[in-house]
């Protein structure tokens, strides 16, 4: 049961993101796709079953406001988690670029799926103005996360700069 606590915290972060972090961190309407990013990170670092269940629950939490498409979003995130898990077995996960490419690819697919499911007009325009900049923004956050996780950036190094 204690092992679930970190995942509950991740879910609360997703909830916080959906409630106000998304608005606060968005730049010209381009926001971070945090639910997909968290699913991808869990799929990269944890077991397949954990990643699949986490993707399922994140889908249910992140898209709680859209019950009519919640199931489809859950399906997309679960498939994404499974795909990333299988990709990670076949590529060199020591490479930062490989991990970033994996995350960026996953976010691209999720953003496209989100746009398709929203059935809004001007799909291409939305993809170019929101979807792809969103991928870059999310990949930037992922890059910072990897740098922190691998110890390339530490608080003491940041303090040393200032």
């Amino acid at each position: 049961m204690i092992r679930l606590i970190p995942y509950l915290l991740y879910l609360w972060i997703v909830g916080m993101h959906q409630v106000f972090l998304s608005d606060v961190t968005s730049i010209y309407g381009v926001s971070i796709n945090l639910p997909a990013l968290m699913v991808l990170l869990v799929a990269i670092y944890k077991s397949e079953i954990t990643a699949l269940w986490f993707a399922f629950v994140v889908g249910a939490v992140a898209y709680a406001g859209l019950p009519q498409v919640m199931g489809w979003h859950v399906l997309i995130l679960v498939v994404l988690a499974m795909a990333v898990f299988h990709f990670r077995e076949r590529i060199n996960m020591e490479s930062l670029k490989a991990k970033l490419l994996l995350v960026a690819g996953g976010i691209v697919l999720d953003n496209i799926a989100v746009l398709v499911l929203s059935r809004s007009d001007g799909f291409l325009m939305l993809l170019l103005t929101k979807g792809l900049p969103g991928v870059v923004y999310t990949a930037l956050i992922a890059w910072l996360f990897f740098l922190f996780k691998e110890g390339r950036i530490t608080l003491s190094k940041i303090k040393a700069i200032f």
Binding site: L11, W12, V14, G15, M16, Q18, V19, F20, E48, I49, L52, W53, F56, A60, V61, A64, G65, P67, Q68, M70, G71, W72, V74, L75, V78
Partner: protein, 263 residues
């Protein structure tokens, strides 16, 4: 049973995959039945705490903005109110001045006080009229309450009024009823008093004191004050009479210079 446990352990991954797939299908199919229920749980658990914080913050921000606006409005309203109150006071003063008639043979030149000087009580005042407005030295200065003083010096656009509270300023006065006379003077220690009034004179507290016209500066009949206290000391020639000035020298605003006809 053992056989079943082994089977479950061997197909552990597939069991999870099957359960997740089934649940996902249920979510896709049960859009109107299962999903609202699930939504209620997830929103209540993962959104509600942050929504409460967000709403509290937004409310705080709107209340802070409203508070700022109200403070600005309060300052504006207070300023406007102060202006209205001042206008109302001026209105009352001007209404009382409206029916004010000068003594016969004189006309009134209205003026306003620019500055007042004096250590404990105002003793002189600068007014906004001067020789260009036909003001001359020794012209009497009054308001609707009574005698204020006289012009002591004049420049082109300003003049100095020596108030009755200046100890060097004396007014020949008489009691309105008995017509007996004395000299009004002011001393810093004891205030305004009627001097040179004999012990046996007809005087009582509350008697009205008017200028007598003697001395040539002030015309007769101007209200100077009322008798406040009468002391009749033994072995003295004159009574000691305290006077309450007709004019409140602390609150003079508009005043009038008496200009003699033909001046």
């Amino acid at each position: 049973m053992n056989w079943f446990t082994n089977l479950f352990a061997r197909h552990w991954r597939n069991v999870h995959l099957t359960v997740i797939s089934l649940l996902t299908i249920i979510l896709i199919v049960g859009q109107s039945t299962v999903n609202p229920f699930l939504r209620q749980i997830t929103v209540g658990t993962f959104y509600a705490p942050f929504a409460t914080v967000k709403n509290a913050f937004l409310e705080y921000r709107s209340v802070a903005a409203e508070n700022r606006n109200l403070r600005e409005k309060l300052v504006e309203t207070s300023t406007t109110l102060a202006m209205y109150e001042e206008a109302a006071r001026e209105n009352v003063r001007l209404r009382s001045v409206l029916g004010f008639e000068p003594p016969a043979g004189y006309s009134l030149i209205p003026a306003e006080i620019v500055s007042v000087s004096g250590e404990y009580i105002p003793m002189s005042a600068v007014i906004n009229k001067g020789s260009s407005d036909s003001l001359r030295v020794d012209q009497p200065v009054i308001n609707q309450q009574g005698l204020i003083g006289r012009i002591s010096s004049v420049s082109a656009n300003n003049a100095v009024v020596q108030l009755l509270t200046d100890p060097s300023n004396r007014v020949a006065a008489r009691i309105a009823e008995s017509r007996e006379m004395g000299i009004i003077k002011y001393s810093a220690g004891s205030g305004m008093m009627l001097d040179n009034f004999p012990i046996g004179g007809d005087i009582k507290v509350g008697d009205l004191l008017l200028s007598s016209g003697l001395g040539g500066v002030y015309p007769s009949g101007l209200k100077v004050g009322t008798v406040e206290e009468v002391e009749l000391p033994e072995h003295e020639v004159f009574a000691k009479i305290m006077v309450t000035p007709a004019v409140n020298f602390y609150s003079i605003d508009e005043l009038f210079i008496l200009k003699e006809a033909g001046q």
